[in-house]
Point group: C2
Chain length 454, copies 2
């Protein structure tokens, strides 16, 4: 007996419907937000991944080679390197900005865990050639548009003393700017050359013990109380500015004293406000994003209770196109995977039930064609079905041998067909409207016109 | 500078539109013909491929391994082994017949040639659990449905003496039954144990010289003149039966004399006739299909002039589900790749032009939003666009700095937007219908309702 490889999935029709439902939301949102779809190879030359992420990435890749003389390949772990390569090779002829979306599978050679598989579907949206806060906000709005389209709502946030936030509801978009975190880290006495280490440390904070975290902070002279005070003040300032409530003098005073300027964040939150999505977004200075290539705004979407891994993440990467041989080009984008998102939707009861999927995805038949049991009608079924299909209709036939018309009509109801066509011989049929339950006689030649989509 | 691996493709928006156009035809046809979509992993355990095709297949696969203890994997060269595995593991709970379609990429580690790439998109339709000629005809009808949906027409066929056929028009569906070819081979003195070799020989006939072919025939005592006489007679019988014209006594006599029974083909062509697709189909005893697992009907779709590789191919494989651990289950299906099909469509001028693609794929914007150049209007663009998108509309904005409204309206025409919305300040807009060229004033709050999809 054969099984699918660990960490991959078999999608039978019901499972695939759920994926297609999510993908339809992604696709519709991308198109409505003015992104054009692109695609690239499933595997790339291995060095396309090492140039951006270093040799360390190799252990996380499915890599292989073919024909002695050729380079080594790897299944894509993400799409951004391909996007950067594609943009770089045609930069001069592409519009400014270029807005691309992409929706395919990615592969990671890790041990599978909840929310993390070896093969998963990923959705990316990127704006390339626009360095404005408006572009930052536009990709976040597109991300939020898909969440909203899938029925998720923004979590209601409460600010507690010390800049601590709590949430009630579905999801939170945690927004940051790496340059602000850098200023906060510097205000906490981290030296210029240790900023990279500090970012990596923030990124793994939740995965290590507080003691270990404190020890690591000490190693780079990160003054933790000072850093937390600065972060708390920044959170309070942005939170109150967002809710247009009163900003305490203390918070502003603290930041002034520490030399931290929040202008970048105020600009970003102004842009988010003009797109009407402030209620989804929160400033969170702890969002660093592991990948070293982010240069400015970064964000992650989380289930509000923090129960799952990030649903989506992204940010600005203004140096990457150049690294792949293109001209210096600002860029911003995000990725969202199907696995965590589907877990969240499932938990919250937001995935349509199996019996509702047909209507959601346009898969319900226009007609089920059955025979009244006479030899003439039996012989006409295949031809009538073929004729309806040729007319662009979704027609099914019954493959059952039963002559019980009542049972067959029940099958039409089960498959949510709009009509049940009962052939009464070689020339005549009864058309039953499965919605109204009304029925009328119809010549076989007129069937296609009669049940054509309204 | 980085490049895509040899034999793979970068799909910029225009190229991807052409692929999506083909895929849409495939998808719509599959659904209308009552197939349900499934999907499986991009890579499988290597032995899933060797069990069906032998160790020889390994040199044609991209294979790799991960983590010492695990088995070796391979990128799928085709979907049928995955389908058989999936069916076998749930056979008891699946409907009879089960009708599945699949549409994803496959991978072949060969040197790329015209019509043959290392990564390509493949469409499969299969009916599992039905051994009738009606099921054979139904999968052929689905294949033909897609070709017809893409604008291809059946080639007009002329029968010349000796069973030679010539064609005028787009495509031909060459249909055969391996059991009939077996009877024809036996009538030409091929021994039972050499039948497999004979099939392989027929399959590679066009790739080797006539001398070499004759030599190979001799090796298995294949009486070539006798075989060709039998084939010619069979072609004549089926051709005339198809066109309901007079069947020569000579042809029938020849077959009787040689002990070849065409009942299977008459049944198949009756089933094709009841689905109204006889004009697409021709009997061709030379269609053997390389893959050893076909057990009955086999077919290939070819461009009529024979200029390209096969557009599609398939057949009946009644032993395969059992080979993958399932119960004995008849099955029939086909695969169609995007590469040859796209070459044929391109050559015949059947791919929509770039500027027509938006309408074909539903990608044209509902509105382009521009500013009249005032500061108030400039400041309102992002918010109006966001509001339209939130209402489910495809809204774009101009990123240009020009204040020339005429030029911006031209941009709306170029992107085939239904409306151009000119903001006249923070509250008011002019809505220009790009079809009628009519325009009217509209409050910003009413815009979404005004231009909602009809």
């Amino acid at each position: 007996v054969f099984q699918a490889p660990t960490g991959t999935r078999d999608f039978y029709p019901a499972e695939l419907s759920r994926l297609r439902y999510v993908q339809n939301a992604w696709r519709t949102t991308s198109i409505n937000h003015g992104f054009d779809e692109i695609d690239g190879p499933t595997f790339e030359h291995l060095d396309l991944y090492t140039v951006k992420s270093g040799e360390g990435i190799i252990s996380e890749l499915f890599s292989f080679e073919r024909f002695g003389g050729e380079k080594t390949f790897a299944l894509r772990p993400e799409f951004t390197p391909t996007l950067a390569r594609m943009y770089a090779s045609k930069a001069a002829s592409l519009p400014k900005p270029t807005k691309w979306f992409w929706m395919q599978n990615c592969y990671r050679a890790e041990r599978p865990q909840r929310g993390r598989l070896r093969e998963f579907c990923q959705w990316n949206c990127d704006i390339i050639g626009d360095d404005s806060a408006a572009a930052d906000a536009e990709v976040i709005a597109c991300c939020v548009g898909a969440l909203e389209g899938l029925g998720l709502t923004p979590a209601k946030t409460t600010l507690h003393p010390g800049g601590v936030l709590s949430f009630e509801g579905d999801v939170v978009v945690r927004v940051n700017d790496r340059r602000v975190t850098e200023a906060l880290l510097k205000s906490a006495k981290v030296a210029e050359q240790d900023i990279g280490i500090a970012f990596a440390l923030l990124d793994k904070k939740s995965k290590i013990s507080p003691t270990e975290f404190a020890k690591e902070c000490e190693r780079i002279s990160l003054d933790l109380p000072r850093f937390e005070r600065a972060c708390g003040a920044a959170i309070a300032c942005i939170f109150h500015s967002r809710t247009r409530s009163y900003v305490t003098d203390t918070a502003q005073e603290t930041l002034r004293e520490l030399g931290v300027d929040l202008t970048l964040l105020y600009n970003l939150f102004d842009a988010l406000a003009s797109l009407g999505i402030t209620q989804w977004c929160l400033f969170d200075p702890a969002i660093a994003r592991g990948l070293a290539y982010y240069t400015g705004m970064v964000f992650e979407v989380h289930e509000a209770s923090g129960a799952e891994r990030a649903i989506a993440g992204g940010g600005r990467y203004d140096k990457l196109i150049e690294m792949f041989g293109g001209p210096p080009t600002p860029a911003v984008g995000f990725g969202m995977g199907d696995v965590v998102l589907s877990l969240v939707l499932q938990d919250k009861g937001l995935l349509p039930k199996d019996e509702e999927m047909g209507a959601k995805l346009g898969l319900n038949p226009d007609a089920l064609v059955i025979s009244n049991g006479s030899a003439e009608a039996d012989g006409a079924v295949a031809g009538v079905v073929a004729e309806l299909r040729r007319a662009g209709l979704h027609a099914r036939r019954s493959y059952k041998t039963t002559k019980n018309i009542g049972k067959l009509i029940q099958d039409a109801a089960k498959m949510r067909a709009r009509y049940c066509v009962i052939l009464e011989g070689a020339e005549k049929a009864t058309v039953k409207d499965m919605g109204t339950q009304g029925q009328e006689a119809c010549g076989i030649g007129e069937l296609a016109g009669r049940i054509a989509r309204r």
